[in-house]
């Protein structure tokens, strides 16, 4: 009896818009979100006759930063290449990209459960312009805005090592966080500075009895586009897995194609363009000389990399004795993590009663949703200390208040004496109301118990 096991084989192609001030090959302002069309353009990014590209040093350094963070090998010699194809948003009729000598290759990331995801490459290219489909005078046409043309774009390609959507989700969230830590991009899917294209196929295993296990590698690959959130990425992958397994169960092979995620109908749809195999006719970009990266240069770039989330997480747990839950929230952004450590530093200079534990500070920060942009670490510590300060009340006054509380709540007092000790909390609360939120609960408790004897 032959049973078939279906195992998803998933790879990712991720594009990240770098947050450099200027574009990749020219000095135009790289900011293009909600900007008047075609106002951040020049002969170079418009592809005017005679224009020439000159590469942005920072964009290249940032590419290598990410490659190093992903444990890649940095090629000693690399270059740019021309990728030739026609499309209205591609002004030169070719995209300057990298083909066979990208900046970074052969990296890896290890997920929480231990699965290793290999990074095939990280390379740098330029973004295209934006197309808008509309109607003018009743006739359909396409509008083009080249503000985005020439923005530096990182491309990260993984090997097809993912086996399910949860792994992809974890990887993507970690990647987003790392990119933000490195300060190279805001990696925002809604703004389009982080774009994901998963490719999904299914590996079929024939389990013949106990003896043979034949594994058939997938003979096809389906690319999915038009995904603009992590949630949709998960859904699209899950949908595809199901769709493909169904086809395989029917004895057919899914078609190799590109499909688009339709978020209103929650499914992928075949993008039935003429699927001509693209012949990009790559050749080395003659306008840009090749680049060399010596170990010294790479070491310089490595120095610019801050402590990354994985390492920070381990350190926070060990040094500050925090729970994984607390740490997860604190290291969500580098700014928050740095803020927290700054607050710890300030706290560290205080002794005695006013000293708070790292965990206390963490909880204060988390639970009170402190806005770190407006509240300085000094203020945070001040507030925390203030919250622990008790409103001082004289012995006589305390005695009076407790007496008052007991007489106003005679039933509760009686219950307590009968043995319902839980009622004490209620009585403490009543006394606190009379003093204020900074009432010394310990003192109140002692006084109540004394008087209830």
């Amino acid at each position: 009896m032959e049973n078939k096991e279906y195992q998803p084989v998933i790879g990712l192609e991720i594009h990240i818009e770098l947050a450099t001030a200027s574009k990749m090959f020219c000095g135009c302002d790289a900011y293009h979100f909600n900007v008047e069309p075609n106002t951040h353009c020049c002969p170079v990014c418009l592809g005017l006759p005679g224009a020439l590209p000159v590469p942005n040093k920072k964009a290249i350094e940032w590419t290598i930063r990410l490659g190093l963070a992903l444990n890649c090998r940095i090629l000693e010699e690399s270059k740019f290449d021309r990728k030739n194809y026609f499309y209205p948003d591609l002004p030169k009729g070719y995209q300057i990209s990298q083909y066979d000598q990208p900046f970074c290759v052969q990296g890896k990331v290890i997920l929480k459960e231990g699965r290793e995801i290999r990074i095939r490459r990280v390379h740098l290219e330029e973004d295209t312009g934006k197309l808008l489909h509309t109607e003018i005078g009743g006739k359909k046409c396409t509008l083009v805005d080249f503000n985005r043309s020439g923005i530096p774009l990182l491309e990260v390609v993984t090997e097809p090592d993912f086996q399910n959507s949860q792994e992809v989700d974890e990887f993507l969230k970690d990647l987003q966080r790392t990119v933000r830590y490195l300060g190279i991009s805001d990696a925002d899917m809604e703004k389009g500075s982080l774009r994901i294209e998963p490719n999904i196929s299914i590996k079929t295993k024939s389990v013949k009895g106990k003896a043979q296990n034949d594994e058939e590698l997938p003979l096809y690959k389906v690319e999915v586009k038009n995904i603009n959130s992590f949630r949709f990425a998960r859904k699209a992958i899950e949908y595809e897995i199901e769709r493909q397994i169904e086809i395989l169960q029917g004895g057919e092979t899914p078609i190799q194609e590109t499909r688009g995620w339709n978020e209103t109908e929650n499914k992928t749809v075949s993008q039935r363009e003429k699927e001509e195999a693209h012949d990009y006719r790559y050749f080395p970009e003659p306008d840009i000389p090749p680049m060399n990266f010596t170990p010294e240069k790479i070491a310089e770039i490595k120095k610019q990399i801050p402590e990354l989330p994985e390492k920070k997480e381990k350190r926070f747990i060990k040094e500050f004795k925090l729970s994984p839950y607390q740490v997860d929230l604190l290291i969500e952004t580098k700014e928050l993590a740095d803020y927290y450590e700054e607050a710890l530093k300030i706290n560290g200079k205080i002794d005695g009663r006013k000293y708070s534990s790292p965990s206390e500070i963490a909880n204060w920060l988390i639970n009170r949703k402190v806005d770190i942009k407006t509240v300085s670490p000094e203020k945070l510590i001040k507030d925390l200390i203030a919250s622990k300060e008790v409103t001082s009340v004289s012995e006589a006054e305390m005695s009076r208040i407790v007496d008052e509380t007991l007489s106003e709540n005679a039933q509760a007092a009686a219950d307590y004496k009968k043995g319902k000790t839980a009622v004490l909390g209620f009585l403490i609360g009543q006394a606190v109301k009379k003093i204020g939120p900074q009432a010394d609960r310990q003192e109140i408790t002692r006084e109540l118990i004394e008087k209830l004897k």
Binding site: P43, G50, A51, V54, N84, K92, G93, Y94, R281
Partner: protein
């Protein structure tokens, strides 16, 4: 004396001595254009105003802000660039003034100026003859004294060959000496802007004005313009290119041999040198240039400027087709990659030759100017015509073409090829030759 007949050197001297003003020269050139340009048809666009500046003409593939720039193509017939080419900017910053844009082969695809989409330029020496190309308009304008000097560009022969056919001086600097920013691209790894002038001394002045690193062109080099320390003719070792002579027609060969004698008289040593067969260079150049052309012309889709791709002419389409093929999947290794490897062989061949020699001389073109209509004969006309200049272009070497006499009333050009970055040496040698021979004094009657 008509001031337009002066050389740049004479103009600069005259202005300094206050014998005349730049404006007068500018006006005289404009007058000359009105007189003879309907015969030579060197200009596409002529500036109307008379400027108080030493006038020059520039090939119409150099972008000039707010002034029509067509590359002699119907695609860019009405194109007005919003920016200046660096070479043009440097000239106007140096107080030179634009007379007009000169005719060329459309997108520089040719060696005749016959494939211009607008009209053919006529050789001032014989109006039934071609001026050569692709900088034919610039060369004709200089020879006809319609301008004091001009600017051209060379991808393989496009400065040297029309200079030779028109009897003027043309300098192709080393690749990387002069910025390509703003020059409508043909072969990106080959294109070199350069001066076309009446004398070698003039060429030197303009070269020094336009050369130098440009932050807008990553392939320009940061090197001193002075490369050789001293110039002593008796110490110069000249190689006479054997294979180039063999390819040339007999009368042309004769002129070159005479030129070699001149150098010997001046004290230089001249020996024969055998170089890598230039005919292979034709194929290497054809592949590299057409491949890069196919990519460089992909931007002409008519959306942002110009007209759409149906406006390309036969020659444009032919080159794009071949270039697309040689880069395509399955053929890249056999063609483009192979051509780049043989490029290495050609570079190494020159390196070896320059171990024992300082410069190499030879003919520029196998024949003098051909008749109008000749370029339509062969689908590889341009590349075959340029056989003698392609090897040095492929290696990025500097070279100058200067008049070396006449054959049947048509000028013959001698080329002096130098080692990389040694423009100063070939200019010095050129100056020596022209002072001795004085061919620049002979002008056609128009």
């Amino acid at each position: 004396m008509n001031l337009n007949e002066l050389s740049l050197t004479e103009v600069l001297e005259g202005i300094e001595k206050k014998r005349f003003s730049p404006q007068e020269i500018f006006a005289d050139c404009q007058k000359r254009i009105k007189e003879v340009d309907e015969k030579t048809k060197a200009f596409i666009t002529v500036i109307a105003e008379t400027r108080n500046a030493i006038p020059f003409a520039i090939k119409d593939n150099f972008c000039t802000e707010n002034i029509r720039t067509t590359a002699s193509s119907n695609i860019l017939r009405d194109y007005i660039p919003p920016y200046n080419a660096t070479v043009y900017q440097r000239l106007i910053d140096a107080q030179f003034g634009l007379l007009g844009k000169t005719n060329m082969d459309s997108f520089a695809h040719g060696s005749s100026t016959e494939t211009s989409d607008f009209f053919v330029t006529h050789n001032p020496w014989n109006l039934e003859r071609l001026p050569g190309g692709s900088s034919g308009g610039s060369a004709a304008a200089v020879m006809a004294d319609e301008t004091i000097f001009a600017i051209g560009s060379e991808t393989a022969g496009s400065i040297r060959q029309p200079s030779a056919w028109c009897g003027v001086v043309g300098l192709k600097p080393s690749y990387g000496r002069v910025s390509r920013y703003g020059v409508i691209a043909m072969g990106s790894s080959l294109d070199c802007p350069g001066p076309i002038t009446k004398t070698v001394a003039d060429a030197e002045i303009i070269y020094k004005t336009i050369a130098g690193k440009d932050p807008l062109d990553a392939t320009t080099v940061d090197r001193s313009l002075v490369e050789t320390s001293s110039f002593e003719p008796k110490k110069i070792r000249i190689g006479l290119a054997k294979e180039y002579l063999e390819v040339a027609e007999k009368p042309v060969r004769q002129k070159i041999l005479e030129a070699a004698e001149v150098f010997r008289r001046l004290g230089c040593s001249v020996v024969e040198v055998s170089l890598f067969d230039p005919r292979y260079a034709i194929s290497v150049y054809t592949i590299l240039q057409r491949s890069e052309v196919s990519s460089n012309l992909a931007r002409y889709d008519g959306i942002r400027y110009g007209s759409d791709r149906t406006y390309f002419n036969k020659e444009n389409k032919r080159r794009i087709m071949l270039g697309t093929y040689t880069l395509s999947a399955g053929y890249y290794d056999a063609y483009y990659l192979k051509a780049q490897k043989i490029r290495t062989v050609i570079c190494q061949d020159f390196e070896k030759a320059f171990e024992k020699l300082d410069v190499i001389i030879g003919p520029v073109s196998p024949s003098p100017a051909k008749r109008i209509g000749a370029s339509t004969a062969d689908p590889m006309f341009g590349e075959k015509e340029d056989v003698l200049v392609e090897p040095s272009t492929i290696a990025g070497l500097p070279a100058i073409s200067l008049p070396a006499g006449f054959v049947d009333g048509l000028p013959v050009g001698l080329q002096i090829i130098g080692n990389r970055w040694q423009e100063d040496l070939i200019l010095n040698l050129g100056k020596l030759f022209e002072t001795e021979t004085q061919y620049y004094k002979i002008k056609p009657k128009l």
